[in-house]
């Protein structure tokens, strides 16, 4: 994408823009962006990554650009995947056809930590378990995208997609006049519509949607409150809700109001102390009973996590073929499962060229990037894999694409990934954009904000 002076077409204009920007203006704008982020209080932590809630995630002003036709293909691929993942969830909590057909090992599914027997037999409204599917993608060539992982539970970071755009438009209105950039600002409205479309059958009238947050101490509280505000729905904590009769209610100053759809940003284990962890103070006692008897919908559905497990990931192309009868549009990164003896052997022999990840890890922690690690680290990992092979998978190091990025010395290529947010309800929607994360350190492949990653605005050029 960025090779000496040869950049792909969409970037050539931007390159002039960035080169013509005087140094003083650049730092002025950079400071302005930072001040804006601080002012709105957008915090550092992306869910599951930890980190101080007061730190800012670095924002790179150089946008990442997709052309309309590139995006169109990517969109088809993302939607296809989101559809297959949901079909898989309905299936494995129902008849289990894909298992019976021998297309995916039964034990991998049913013994999975994220497989939730409490929802067996439930077909949620419109047959959707995962309503917001975040798919992490990398690009390795002009038309080659690989999926790194799927996020079917409650993918975070969408507030960055919206705020990054907002800030770019405020700072560089000219760029948006010269380029026809597809807007992303309807995401909150679309999300609300998606959630309302999966209201339970028992709901008559306009569905009331709420966002359930663990509370203001949570590192992603900003995002929860931002989304609630943009969607025009209440942001509730567990104690704001209660169960009575067949429904779930919200405590208001006018008395109880029935809640129909809960977009929850808390983990399965905490949703209901009567069903899951009895010590949970964050959830709502009895909520799962109301859910299972069809009085309320919970998004994403409890148990949806079984579809985004790193071991299940390997089988997503199989799901696409099995449920949709289509060829997968987006590729999976070839993955070795260390739990398989022959895979494990290969991994141990090729550690210096592979990326090794923990099955349930996230945030770029507990990860080995073979080509960039010294012998001691590699040996340490080999030891870990021998001890707990089932805990690790390995993937080849991909030749990740880069994107022009502002650095100390000017403009330089840096590795990026992309997380678009696919909304699944009555319809499947994808706003033209997403969260682009960038590894700000030269040569680094780790884009996580906790490890020196930053974010960029993501542009999709209109037709």
């Amino acid at each position: 994408m960025f090779d000496a002076d040869a950049v792909r077409a969409p970037y050539s204009g931007l390159l002039d823009w960035s080169r013509n920007m005087p140094q003083e203006l650049r730092s002025l704008k950079q400071n302005e962006a930072e001040a804006l982020f601080r002012r709105i209080g957008i915090t550092f932590a992306v869910y599951g990554e930890g980190g101080s809630p007061d730190r800012l995630i670095p924002f790179d002003m150089f946008p990442r650009v997709f052309q309309a036709d590139e995006w169109a293909r990517l969109e088809r691929g993302v939607k296809q995947r989101a559809k297959a993942l949901n079909a898989f969830l309905v299936d494995v909590y129902g008849r289990g056809e894909i298992v019976k057909a021998g297309r995916i090992p039964a034990r991998l599914v049913y013994q999975n930590e994220a497989y939730e027997t409490a929802v067996c037999g439930i077909v949620p409204s419109k047959g959707v378990y995962a309503h917001i599917v975040g798919i992490d993608l990398v690009r390795t060539g002009p038309d080659e995208f690989f999926v790194l992982e799927d996020n079917c539970r409650t993918p975070s970071g969408v507030s960055y997609m919206l705020e990054n755009r907002e800030i770019m438009m405020r700072m560089f209105p000219g760029l948006f006049q010269e380029n026809r950039i597809a807007p992303v600002e309807n995401y909150p409205a679309l999300l609300r519509r998606t959630l309302a479309s999966v209201a339970p059958a028992k709901c008559d009238g306009t569905p009331r949607v709420v966002i359930l947050t663990p509370g203001h101490f949570n590192s992603a509280y900003y995002e929860h409150s931002f989304l609630a505000d943009m969607m025009g729905v209440e942001l509730v904590e567990g104690a704001d809700l209660f169960v009575e009769g067949d429904f779930c209610w919200m405590r208001t100053t006018e008395g109880p109001k029935k809640v129909d759809v809960i977009y929850r940003r808390i983990d399965d284990a905490f949703i209901d102390p009567l069903c899951f962890r009895p010590d949970s103070m964050l959830g709502v006692p009895g909520l799962m009973n109301v859910y299972r008897s069809g009085g309320v919908n919970i998004c994403s559905a409890p148990g949806a996590g079984v579809a985004d497990d790193k071991a299940i990931y390997t089988y997503v192309p199989e799901m696409i073929r099995f449920y949709l009868g289509e060829a997968p549009i987006l590729k999976n990164v070839p993955t070795w499962q260390c739990t398989k003896p022959e895979d494990c052997k290969y991994v141990l022999e090729h550690l210096d060229e592979l990326v090794v990840k923990e099955v349930h890890g996230s945030g770029g922690y507990g990860m080995l990037v073979g080509p960039r690690s010294d012998k001691a680290t590699i040996e340490l990992f080999a030891q870990k894999i021998r001890e707990k092979p089932w805990n690790y998978i390995a993937q080849p190091t991909l030749a990740l694409s880069t994107c022009p990025t502002f650095v100390e010395e000017g403009i330089a290529p840096r590795h990026v990934d992309l997380r678009p947010y696919c909304l699944v309800g009555e319809n499947i929607d994808l706003v033209p954009g997403g969260l682009t994360r960038v590894a700000l350190t030269e040569g680094s492949l780790v884009v996580n904000s906790s490890q020196g990653g930053g974010v960029k605005d993501t542009w999709v050029m209109a037709e």
Partner: protein, 281 residues
């Protein structure tokens, strides 16, 4: 056998609570071994709702009381006709795949001692005789944990019970689940009632036992406390991964009150005089 059951659970709160929510699993299972003649669950002053049959086939109901709540009285009364199926859960509709019952919980996690118990029990049993393997495991648990009330608590795990060598039906059941899962046999916790007649051989009217998944047959009950498989003296109510998951009543009270609980269970053969019951505090 026609059995009549009365099961009363009383919770008292001091000071009164702001509200109480309970999830009830108090209605007998539907399968060929038992047929409900009549069944009633009553909670005075409560709002009931959110009722459904879960994936494991249990009937679940939700009960809420708005505060101040100083007492919750849950009364179960009913008559049921049972049949001896030698422990086989025939004709039970459920959707949870048996393999999902291979995953242990904190209570049923097998430690080294439990694994050792399992492999000793199976040492001389043929690999392909699944039924014999299950019997051997149940017998091993009965022998390793002596029935002795008051030695364990609600939170005691299978591993702790085995280490102590003593426990009640809950501990037997957790231990059997643990050794079964360690031997790659899906297993689960079952709650219900037991009519033990006048011979005094059985221990508790409100009872628990395990079910093991036997390839080719299906779910079969094993009661290590009484060293037998459930017959027509047993009434099956619900199941789960462990005692907590299968609990007849799971509840949360909101407030700072101290909770006290009293249980009274009576079960009798409707066709023969005399009864037996017991009170747990």
């Amino acid at each position: 056998m026609r059995l009549t059951i009365s099961h009363e659970t009383v919770y008292r709160f001091n000071p009164p609570m702001r509200g109480v929510v309970q999830s009830h699993r108090l209605t007998p299972s539907q399968f060929e071994g038992q047929q409900v003649i009549e069944w009633q669950v009553q909670v005075d002053g409560a709002t009931r709702g959110a009722a459904f049959r879960d994936g494991a086939g249990d009937w679940i109901e939700t009960v809420t009381l708005l505060g101040p709540v100083s007492e919750v009285r849950v009364s179960v009364r009913g008559t049921i006709e049972t049949r001896d199926l030698a422990g086989v859960l025939r004709g039970h509709r459920e959707t949870v795949p048996p393999l999902a019952y291979l995953r242990p919980t904190i209570a049923t996690e097998a430690d080294k001692a439990l694994r050792a118990l399992a492999s000793r029990a199976l040492a001389d049993v043929p690999q392909d005789d699944f039924l014999a393997r299950a019997h051997a495991l149940s017998a091993a648990v009965s022998a390793a944990i002596r029935y002795s009330p008051g030695e364990t608590v609600a939170g005691t795990s299978a591993a702790q019970a085995l280490a102590q060598g003593m426990g009640v039906c809950q501990d037997h059941t957790h231990a059997l689940i643990a050794v079964a899962q360690a031997s790659d046999i899906p297993a689960r916790y079952v709650t219900g009632y037991l009519e033990s007649g006048s011979d005094g051989g059985a221990h508790e009217a409100s009872h628990a036992w395990a079910e093991l998944w036997i390839e080719g047959i299906g779910w079969i009950g094993f009661d290590p406390s009484n060293e037998c498989c459930p017959d027509d003296r047993y009434v099956r109510v619900g199941s789960g991964h462990d005692a907590e998951g299968a609990a007849p009543i799971r509840g949360v009270a909101e407030g700072t009150g101290i909770e006290a609980m009293e249980v009274d269970v009576r079960i009798e053969d409707a066709n023969s005089p005399g009864n037996q019951g017991q009170t747990q505090q």
